[in-house]
């Protein structure tokens, strides 16, 4: 009888993902092409929520920024967080929250309300990282894009649709000598998710609900934690380079065709993002 009790508990139920994501031995590193014209890329992190009536206006201005000639140097990560992002029965049953990572960032940056956006997490006014007033965002984006890059960041994705295994390889090359403590973070985002969005701005859509709202740049999950992993601590010589590989099994609920990976390097002392890169999954 006692042995029966022992045996009864002798089972290991494995929850997805079924692959070991920390082991990248099955992710052969590809060759990276040379970067001939290094440019600074802007990462805009936007806090938003589907029950936030002001948020469609924020997204409208972000689309305006991405439609500019420099739009290819702009990466947006829309982070659905706070109680306004909680799904509920009925029209607002979509859960666009990136697990707990959105809430962690929301708390860390002490976001008072949505929409809020940061521009490489730079304190453009000397004190604030995340800004309200979407109409002012484009000017802030253009201000950041005038800066020179201190590193290049390249990203190559290899995706196996049969297993939904994604190998993401990132190469960092320092264009100048570095003395900062740096971390690198990677996130997966998904475009073209259709659902209900609350709205109070008739110029961007029907009010009070936009039933077929197209959510873009929705942060889904992280690769190496909410705050990334250490890239370097202290001095690094000019022209040094680092290659890192990561693996993730894409959630079957995500449309891999609409997914993309965003990687960025930031200063752990100031939180400022120094460089960012984004590539589609395939």
């Amino acid at each position: 009888m006692l042995s029966g009790v022992f045996i009864f508990f002798s089972c290991d139920k494995v929850d997805p993902p079924y692959m070991n994501e920390t082991d990248v031995s099955d992710c052969p590193v590809p060759g990276f092409p040379d970067v001939t014209n290094p440019q600074k890329t802007l990462l805009i992190e936007e806090f938003t929520a589907h029950k936030c009536i002001y948020c469609p206006t924020g997204s409208y201005y972000l689309n305006q920024i991405k439609s500019q000639p420099y739009g290819n140097k702009v990466i947006v990560l829309s982070i659905h967080a706070s109680g306004l992002a909680d799904p509920e029965a009925g029209n607002y049953n979509l859960d666009l929250r990136p697990d707990t990572h959105g809430e962690e960032l929301y708390t860390y940056f002490a976001i008072p309300s949505e929409p809020r956006a940061s521009f490489n997490r730079e304190k453009l006014d000397g004190t604030t990282v995340f800004y309200s007033s979407p109409a002012t965002w484009q000017a802030k984006a253009e201000q950041v894009l005038t800066e020179s890059p201190v590193m290049t960041l390249q990203l190559i994705n290899n995706y196996d649709s049969a297993t939904r295994k994604l190998c993401a390889h990132v190469k960092v090359k320092f264009l100048t000598a570095n003395s900062q403590n740096l971390k690198m973070a990677l996130f997966i985002a998904e475009d073209r998710i259709i659902g209900y969005q609350m709205n109070n701005n008739t110029s961007v859509g029907p009010t009070p609900d936009i039933p077929d709202y197209v959510f873009m740049d929705v942060m889904r999950d992280e690769f190496v934690g909410t705050f990334g992993e250490t890239l370097v601590s202290g001095n690094v010589a000019q022209d040094s380079s680092i290659i890192r590989s990561y693996k993730k099994i894409l959630d079957p609920a995500w449309n891999a065709k609409h997914c993309k990976i965003a990687a960025y390097v930031y200063d752990t002392d100031t939180d400022e993002v120094l460089q960012a890169v984004e590539e589609k999954v395939y």
């Binding site: 089972c11 494995v14 031995s25 049969a162 297993t163 939904r164 079957p252 891999a256 065709k257």
Partner: protein, 555 residues
Amino acid sequence: MKNRYSFLIIVLIVGILGSIECRAQGVENFFKNSQISGNFQFDGMYYNHDSVIGAPEVPEKVLMNAFANINYNNGPFSAGLRFENYLHALQGFDPRYKGIGIPYRFASFEKCKFGITVGNSYDQFGSGLIYRAWQDANLGYDNSLDGIHVRVTPVTGLTIKGIWGQQRFYFDKGPGIVRGGDAEINFNDLFTRLHEKPFRFGIGGSFVSKYQDAADPVYKLPKNVAAYSGRGTISYKNFMINGEYAHKINDPSAMNNRIYKPGNATLLQLTYTRKGLGMYLAAIRTDNMSYKSDRDADGNDLNINYIPSLAKQTTYCLPAVYTYATQPNGEFGFQAQGIYTFKRKTKLGGKYGTTISLAYSRYNAIDKEKIDAVTPLDSTGTLGYKSDFFSMGKEVYYENLNFEFSKKFSKTFKLIVDYFYILYNSKIIEGHDVSDIYSHTLLADMTFNINEKHSIRSEIQHMYTKQGEGSWAFGLVEYTIAPRWYFSVSDQYNYGNPDSGKRIHYYNIAASYVFCSSRVSLSYGRQRAGIMCVGGVCRYVPAANGLTLSISTSF
């Protein structure tokens, strides 16, 4: 070497117990209660290279399988061993059966409601859907559990069993550990007032878990994989219905392309019997139910469970060409069978009675749906597929319709006539990339008793098919001089092979001599390539040409 030690240990145990017994009861009583029994079988073949049938050159020229069981019994104590010898194994048997050893040995003690076996044991829980350890020498199959086996009957009607050990793997053991328990209650035996009731019922439940270490760099593998089952039996007068449901948790393995979907199996059987009439209905559904103690094993290696076959089995050689092998990864099968004997001295029964039987069985794939829009079916490292329990897949694996007529016309003549229609999905069952095979076989089996000692039995079989190797004809004549001599001549002729160069005769002549409890057989001829199955478990038999000597005896 390890097996030699095992043998010595057994002898030592027997000796020690024997000496204890000797002191307690005296030498005379000890030997008086002792019984030794056993059997021996030898099969050897001299192989001729025969390029016509594709029989390969055999470097050793002669190959052999031999084994001997030796069992000792003394009241509640028994012990035994099996000596096996493969130098080298006959073609068609796994070459890992190589060498000499004692891979099976046990000691058992049964007293005061406890039965304990240490060493190798065979047993099954319920229908075997989650645990069956068994052996068939002709099939080259042996998954005995080496460890402990405990059986307790605390009260009449309640039986509890426990197992814990490792499975036999040729002359070694599998890497996994198998633990399990089973409890069965027969209510009519448990309660005195139900003893004589026509309504009888019982229930049972089993739990098995296997452990295998895992250090896979790519996949998160479960080290402990559990399976459980529940079963019930109800009978009333001539009717009996029984069923069992089994469930297995995620078990990514070489057999299922390393998918993580849980498995399940359901077996339902209904029987009705009365004098002269028997009816049987059964259905089985298995879904990802291969359960082995090594996740990397394939074929018949290290099966913990057993999936029973509902396909009609026959010993006649031509319809047996297309025998169903169960598909543990998924199958939906059913069988309906009826047998009726017309009474003697009636118009249809005649002087000695007439028996007719009709059997139909069919196996389909299970329904499989993709887990999402983009992931292909059975993709490694995923749930593999979704399957609606009550939906049958469209692909037919096997279909068998059999009608049999059996009648003894006189004291000297008996006739059996059989018709088989078989649909055989060779791609699924054998992995051959060929179209489905539809065959029709008609055969007659005639026995002429010349006198009390002399008889002649003859088989005439014809199988018509346009697919596979085409049509076959078979003829056999056996002459028996009871009780010692037996002679036979037979020929299988693949006259309908689409390739005229392969229209080959597979002739065979054989003779046997029986004396005491021994039998010596000698045969010469060709053996066609195919699969040989026992209860849905099959092995491939390659083409061969040569002289075969078989010796079997028991004591």
